[in-house]
Symmetry: C2
Subunit: 227 residues, 2 copies
DNA sequence: TTGCCCTAAATTGTTAACAATAATTGTGGG
DNA sequence: CCCACAATTATTGTTAACAATTTAGGGCAA
C-alpha cells in the first residue's frame, strides 16, 4: 500500500515509513505526549499512525540506539526515564564534546558565522532582561546547536544532538533565577570572544567550563527532595 | 507499571533474533568479512543466518544508528566506509571523551583499578620491546577501554565503544614505528601517574593530548597517496 | 557502435497471518 | 477472604506473501 492516500500529494521526497514513524514517535516522546517509563503498545501505536507493525518496530530499534527508548524482550518498548545520575553523566559527556567544539570552531570560524552567533547571543540578552525563561531556554539551545554545527564535524554534531534530546527526558522542576541566567550568558559572551579572537584553547576551556557550570546550576536549582 | 529490569544473569536466555543478528553482522563487518561500501543483500543474508528478513531489517536499523551501516531507501543497506576526514573527526570527538574520562577516573579510581591499569601498561611495554605490533594494538585497545570503563559513566563508555568500532572501518596501511610506539606508551605512563596521584586536571589533559597525538601519529604513518 | 526505450528480473518496502510469550481473569479449595 | 493455579486474553516475536521500486538486459533506430 502506498502513502499517496495521505494528505501531502505534492511532496515526493517523503522518506520510508520507518523514518517517518521514527520522527513521529520521537516528537511524541520529546513533547511529553508519551511519558517516561510508559510502554509503547505496538498494535495501538501502529493503528494510530496508520502503518503496520513492521516499520514501527524498525523505528523503535533505531530509537533504542539513540537512547530514547528501551527494548525489553517479550515485554515491549519503554520510553527512557533519565535519572539525576544519568543526567549528570550526560553533562559530563557534553563537557567533553563542548571542549572539542570550542577548539574547532575558534580555528575555522568565518565572519558571517561570528555575526550569526553574536545575534543569537544578543537575543539571549533580551530574553534574560525580560525574564523570559522559555525564550532563554530556546535561545540557549539555538546558540549551542549553531556553535556545534560550525565545527563541521558530523559525529560531534550528532552526539550533541542525541545527548540534548536525552537530556530533555530528564524533567527538572527547578528554574534558573535571574542571577544564574546572567552568569550563564556572560559565559556565552566569553566563549564568543575567544572564538572571535581565534583563541582555540580559550574557547575550548570556556565552553567546557560553561557546560560543567551548567551542570552545577541545574543541581543547585533542584529542590532537596529531588536529590 | 514500573520499569524494573533486574534480569537474572543466570536465567538469561538467548536474546531476540534481532539482537543476535545484529551482533553477527557487526562481527562480520568488523572482521572485514563484509567489506566497506558493500551492500547487504537481505534475502541472501537472511538465508545465510537462517532468519527471515524481519529481524534482519530491525538489526540494520540499529546498526545504522551505531554508524556501522548506511541505509539508502529503495537501494539497500551499505557497510559504512570511513574516509580519512571522517577518521580525523572521530579522533577529535574521542579527544573530548578522553578528557572527561581522565578527569573522572582520577577522582574516583581505586587501588585495585590502578593495579589493573598498571598491569595493562606493563603488557604494552613488553609488546613494544618485542616489536609485536598486533599485541600492542590489542593491548592499547584494552588499556583505553578499561580506563574508560572505570569512569562509571555508561554514556561515555558507549560512545567510546561506538567510535572505536567506527574507527576500525577506517583501514590504514601505515604502521607505527618503534619510536612512535615508545612515545605512545610513555603517554600511557603519564596518564597512569596522574590518575594514581589523583591529579584529575593532569589526567584529563594527558589523556586528551594522547588522543590528539595519536591522530597525528596516524596521519604521519600514512603514505602521501592516502592523504 | 552508441544511445534510448521497453520489458523482465532482482531487490527492497510493507502488510498480514501465525507462533510464542507474558499478563489477566476466573475458579476452587483452604 | 485469599492464595494457588489453570484457562483465557493480550501482546510481542517471527515468518511469509504481496506491492512498489530499482536494476539489468535486449532490441532497435540513428
Amino acid at each position: 500500500m502506498t502513502l499517496e492516500t495521505d494528505a501531502d500529494p505534492v511532496l515526493e521526497r517523503t522518506g520510508s515509513l520507518t523514518t517517518i514513524v521514527r520522527e513521529k514517535i520521537e516528537r511524541m516522546i520529546l513533547s511529553g505526549e508519551i511519558a517516561g517509563g510508559e510502554r509503547l503498545n505496538e498494535n495501538a501505536l501502529a493503528a494510530q499512525l496508520n502503518v503496520s507493525r513492521g516499520p514501527l518496530r524498525e523505528a523503535t530499534w533505531s530509537l533504542e540506539q539513540a537512547g530514547l527508548v528501551q527494548i525489553v524482550r517479550n515485554r515491549g518498548v519503554f520510553v527512557r526515564k533519565i535519572s539525576l545520575e544519568e543526567a549528570l553523566h550526560l553533562y559530563d559527556v557534553r563537557s567533553g564534546l563542548a571542549r572539542v567544539a570550542g577548539r574547532l570552531v575558534a580555528s575555522r570560524v568565518t565572519a558571517e558565522q561570528i555575526a550569526v552567533l553574536t545575534g543569537l547571543y544578543e537575543a539571549l540578552e533580551r530574553a534574560r532582561e525580560t525574564q523570559d525563561q522559555a525564550a532563554y531556554n530556546e535561545g540557549n539551545r539555538r546558540f549551542h546547536t549553531r556553535l556545534v554545527e560550525y565545527t563541521g564535524n558530523n559525529r560531534l554534531i550528532s552526539y550533541h544532538e542525541t545527548t540534548e534530546k536525552e537530556l530533555r527526558l530528564f524533567v527538572r522542576r527547578g528554574v534558573l533565577g535571574p542571577a544564574r541566567l546572567r552568569v550563564s550568558n556572560r559565559e556565552h559572551k566569553q566563549i564568543l570572544d575567544c572564538i572571535a579572537k581565534g583563541d582555540d584553547e580559550g574557547a575550548a576551556t570556556a565552553f567546557e567550563r560553561h557546560i560543567l557550570n551548567g551542570k552545577q546550576r541545574m543541581l543547585e536549582s533542584l529542590s532537596p527532595a529531588e536529590i
